[in-house]
Symmetry: C2
Subunit: 349 residues, 2 copies
């Protein structure tokens, strides 16, 4: 649980009266209105959320629209470097950014299990507001449901996001070209390992913090810098490996990764070894790859390094039309990288 | 469970291999890709869902945007007259319509409990596709999470919706005027009582079907008919009573309801009496009120009756500035209608 100064404001819902969420808080009556007013409107701000109406009426953006959604079921709700609320904002902001969009508006859907500590909900709502301010998006509409004990797990959050595309680039795996470089904005595997370490039944402790962060301003910097970005993708569930397998498969080209160029923090590497995970499959929440024309590589690295000092060129697109990902290992041998069948780490986002 | 011809197509995911959803179906790997392809893309159509990317890039609408979200946690997943999938489409379509918007795009977020019958998921996905086609909206993006057994309840669905407002009306309770009439499109209480009747532990059986239906074309007909609509609201959680209490409170005016004008089906009335519910607080999923200038009443009734034969003028806005709702009973006495504290019927949507 986080006790930073960001969370210092006390919850406006009287915690002595309602220390825990009740089924009745989801029933559409006075208690639900009170919950929305005292937690969500109080945290998100009245200017942002038109709480008493069915939806938000918004200024139309001046370009193509981008629209995305994600549900967040991370266990536990609070973990080193973040919480489900920050994740729910950053994750959706990042999905919009990966489509080349500037994030504008966020909706929030809460599925609360009866018995959730009201103060935890307040901390999470505040964390969402901070994350939204940081990413310059507005939380404009929302919904609250409460489910019976044993029918949820504290809290699930869905966010949907609307953004605008203010340029003419078509950012998609189908635009990959042989010779394109694959650029990564930092070390991988932190988020997944931070969440694993926070799970109470895990027998090791680390100081690994989630890399959870908004990526939209970095994408904007590339676009403003005139980079002809071919593809962008954040490295969430399934990690770097799964993302690249998807991209290679969509594009039809072979992708080569250079293992020794991929930044991995020593603690993350150690934790992965103990648990038998391969960091290239571990989820991140503030890492992305930009696939760009080879000639733009230096400028992309320069632009990204101002926010992400560990930015690295980790691979390239090759002319072979086999849609596969190969990784050149530390000793020089190439091996094929495949998608995992199921999950390595369940419920990390 | 529904066996209508709409559900006749067999599920493209081999049910002999995967009769139930596994945690691994949510892990971002091959099994999740297979689930998305064989269930969601198969049901929603490839033209609608850009399944392999982080979001959908959309044609910008030519007016103000409207954006809304709702999560659906109805228990049970299938009930007379509908299922959670149809509810998730119609509910969000209706929220957009109540803002005066023409629904365009829907996002879907699935939170699946491990062990859900794969065939049930397929039926629900198909039902969503049918509901979307009926409401003329496109399902354009989505997300899938799987949670452990005992941490969900079969399936929760979040939908968010984007629509466009193609007129200059400001549809909001603040535009109420004394003399406005309150017009309802049909009998109330069906949805809540249909869901209650479908719950296995309930000791009575009825043939009440949910009123679950899309309302956008009816709203469009009012706007196309040149009606100066002041306020629109669908009568979901909390029912007619809670909705009107909210509106009266926002507008500051007194609202009067005429109890004998409110259509209620005899079976619904009977079931409510047995269970001790007041139908004016029971949820609907295909009922709305339009609050319109008194002079437009006849035309509004005429327009709505073509789709909703039971359309009725059930009340009016009065000059008194007390923000209250009064109901004139069958014997002529007026009583104040208040919001309930919690829920009458949990998890009906």
């Amino acid at each position: 649980m986080n006790d930073d100064k960001e969370f210092r404001l006390s919850c406006p819902l009287p915690l002595t009266d309602y220390p825990h969420i009740l089924m009745a808080h989801g029933g559409g009556g006075r208690l639900m209105h009170q919950l929305i007013d005292k937690i969500f409107v109080a945290a998100f701000g009245v200017g942002n959320l038109e709480a008493t109406h069915d939806g938000a009426v918004l200024k139309p953006p001046g370009g193509r629209l981008v629209f995305t959604t994600d549900s967040y079921v991370v266990d536990p709700l609070f973990f080193p470097g973040g919480d489900i609320g920050r994740l729910a904002i950053d994750g959706t902001v990042n999905d919009l950014a990966m489509c080349g969009g500037r994030p504008l508006y966020i909706s929030t859907g809460f599925i609360i299990e009866e018995g959730l500590a009201t103060d935890d909900l307040w901390r999470i709502a505040q964390s969402m507001r901070l994350a939204a301010d940081e990413a310059e998006v507005k939380i404009v509409t929302g919904d609250t449901k409460v489910v019976d004990r044993g029918r949820g797990h504290g809290l699930y959050i869905n966010t949907a996001g609307v953004g605008v595309i203010e340029h003419d680039l078509e950012i998609h795996p189908r635009h990959l070209q042989p010779g394109d470089k694959i650029i990564l904005n930092g070390d991988i595997g932190r988020h997944g390992m931070a969440v694993m370490a926070a799970r109470e039944n895990l027998s090791f402790e680390t100081t690994i913090e989630s890399d959870c962060a908004p990526l939209a301003s970095s994408v904007q910097a590339l676009i403003d810098g005139g980079i002809a970005v071919h593809c962008l993708r954040d490295l969430t569930r399934g990690g770097l490996a799964t993302t690249l397998v998807e991209i290679a498969d969509s594009s039809g080209y072979e992708i080569n990764l250079d293992e020794k160029k991929i930044p991995i923090n020593e603690q993350v590497r150690g934790a992965c070894e103990i648990l038998g995970y391969d960091p290239i499959y571990v989820a991140n929440e503030g890492r992305f790859i930009a696939i760009v024309p080879g000639g733009d590589t230096d400028r992309v690295v320069e632009i990204l390094k101002s926010d992400w000092p560990e930015t690295a060129v980790i691979g390239e697109v090759r002319p072979a039309r086999n849609g596969q990902v190969l990784m050149t290992g530390r000793l020089g041998a190439e091996r094929t990288i495949d998608m995992l069948s199921g999950e390595q780490l369940p419920r990390i986002c």
